[in-house]
């Protein structure tokens, strides 16, 4: 039996309201809500669902196509993983997480530009509250200010387009805005870009990331770096590759900003000493890459980058958050040999790092290959060069971290147990199981990338006519 997609939003939202009334049962309500959503997401009816019983395009609608299907799977499954890894830390925040989950699902599913704004605000406010867990109120405040400037700009851009098209429905807006002259669309596009860029961690609006993610724990780190940023990037893709396709000027502005984000993120990550800072800058870089791909129109590789980043960052941020909590330091030099004592966590972290870098046999390789192939097929050589250079820097800093965390001693010597930091369990049992499952998924999908490609783009559909553009045998899958 297929269910209505609105339930993915209504169930967590209703449970969030109930959780305020029944404070004693909050743990159960959270577990039930998150698990139910992660289960139900696979039984959701495809197509465009109107809300309120009015005819499209005048009603608010939810659109479940191949694109948003990936988005809701990522959001719900990763939220379940984040909650399972750090269930103890969710105590205070049960209604916040549930309402945030509803907002994330709404963001990915909605087919209405203003409804998107409302859901982005729900998500943002839940993020502001979660960020207060970092005990740095000035950083949360900073985040709030950047977020509200972003939302004001988004609203201004949206209302300009509404004034010209008279509609807020995404598909109708796509149709009508294509008829407007490019010059008139540059400002609204840039304003909307600035609004979405806050959560997507793109350059001018990413000033909050360092303070918030640098003080994150296993719960908030995974939520921000993995769940929220995947949803924000899926929204970015929806808006800029399907609704408001940027013309030449706006397109160049957005792509340049995105590539700058990628480059700046990789360089800053390389210069950071703290584990979480390396990870957060690497997240910014990955967001920049995905945004550049979306703005160019390469939806399929961008989705692969998002999946790869979400899975990898889930493992890495939960490990980093727990390491900081257990050992009291975040400097990876001070954490030397921590993985020798924690084999499962170490192996998972290593595989996630390899996948993010894009080494063969893991999923990231397939993603990077598709990114490069997409550009090379188009005949662009500048962007692949930037991506490759970024990948080399990325590889360098991840390998540096891995060496320290596995082998604390001098170069060339294998880890000596005495030189390592003391033995402490990084994950609780449930967390270990979740992390191992995600790691297995990364490895498995590395061996069977074509099936992932089919899952991501079964019929082409809204992903454009591309489909998987490259398979492991290097055949061209479709035309650009």
């Amino acid at each position: 039996m297929m269910i209505n997609p609105v339930l993915l939003i209504a169930i967590p939202l209703g449970l969030a309201f109930i959780a305020v009334v029944f404070k004693k049962l909050q743990g159960w309500i959270l577990a039930i809500g998150v698990a139910a959503n992660a289960f139900l997401v696979f039984f959701v009816e495809k197509g465009e669902t109107a809300i309120g019983g009015f005819k499209l395009p005048f009603a608010i609608s939810l659109v479940l196509d191949d694109f948003s299907f990936i988005g809701v799977i990522l959001v719900n499954v990763l939220t379940l993983a984040a909650v399972a890894v750090a269930f103890r830390k969710t105590e205070k925040y049960v209604p916040v997480i549930l309402a945030g989950l509803a907002g994330l699902n709404g963001m990915v599913l909605t087919g209405d530009m203003f409804n998107l704004f409302v859901f982005m605000e729900i998500t943002a406010i839940s993020a502001y509250i979660l960020s207060s867990e970092g005990r740095k109120p000035e950083q949360s405040f900073n985040y709030l200010v950047i977020g509200s400037i972003g939302s004001v700009l988004y609203l201004l851009g949206l209302i300009l387009i509404y004034g010209q098209t008279g509609t807020l429905n995404m598909s109708l807006m796509a149709e009508k805005s294509a008829l407007i002259g490019q010059a008139a669309m540059v400002l609204p596009l840039v304003l909307i870009f600035a609004g979405i860029a806050v959560e997507a961690k793109l350059l001018p609006m990413s000033g909050w990331v360092r303070g918030v993610l640098g003080n994150s724990n296993a719960l908030t780190g995974v939520m921000f770096a993995s769940v929220y940023s995947s949803a924000a990037l899926m929204v970015f893709g929806r808006v800029f590759s399907q609704v408001l396709i940027p013309g030449t000027t706006a397109g160049v502005i957005i792509i340049v900003i995105a590539l700058l984000t990628f480059a700046a993120g990789q360089v800053s990550a390389f210069r950071s000493k703290s584990l979480r800072q390396v990870l957060l800058y690497s997240s910014i870089a990955q967001s920049g890459l995905a945004a550049a791909l979306f703005a160019t129109g390469f939806v399929f590789p961008a989705v692969l980058v998002i999946i790869n980043n979400a899975a990898g960052k889930m493992i890495m941020f939960s490990t980093a958050g727990n390491l900081e909590e257990k050992y009291g330091t975040d400097d990876y030099v001070g954490l030397g040999g921590a993985f020798v004592r924690n084999m499962p966590a170490g192996v998972a972290f290593t595989i996630a790092a390899l996948s993010l870098t894009g080494l063969p046999l893991v999923f990231g390789f397939y993603a990077k290959l598709n990114v490069l192939a997409a550009y090379l097929n188009q005949g662009t050589f500048f962007v692949p060069a930037v991506v490759l250079a970024g990948t080399i820097i990325e590889g360098a800093y991840f390998i540096r971290i891995l060496i320290k965390l596995w082998a604390p001693g001098k170069e060339g010597e294998w880890a000596d147990a005495d030189q390592s930091v003391g033995e402490k369990k990084i994950f609780n049992p449930a967390g270990t199981v979740v992390v191992i499952l995600v790691t297995l998924l990364i490895i498995l999908s590395g061996f069977l990338p074509d099936s992932v490609g089919k899952l991501v783009a079964p019929g082409g559909g809204l992903l454009g006519d591309e489909g998987p553009s490259i398979s492991m045998t290097m055949e061209k899958g479709g035309d650009q």
Binding site: F114, Y128, S140, F141, V152, I159, Y162, N215
Partner: protein, 112 residues
Amino acid sequence: MIKFASLLLIIIGLYGILSTRNVIKILVGINVMEIGINVFIIAMGFVNDGAAPILSVDNPVNVLKFVDPVAQALVLTSIVIGLGITALGLVFARKIHKKYGTYDLSETGGES
């Protein structure tokens, strides 16, 4: 003219946010900016000689000329969201004050 004035408000709000490190003043700046946007949205929805979009004894038939009700609904939503953000911002401001004894961000020390 109203559009121009609302843009002025947005710019004043932005200046308010950028020019000070005082938490409360930044929040005031955000609010000025939001009011600017709200006025702008209403101005976008205005129609020359349009009536308020409410059927009443004075305007009994819906074929008359009305201003855009959608814009007004959007403004309501945006006002409420602004209220929520302001409330949350004020609580963060109090936490900052409690932790550092000042409302000035430049006096809160360290970068991260």
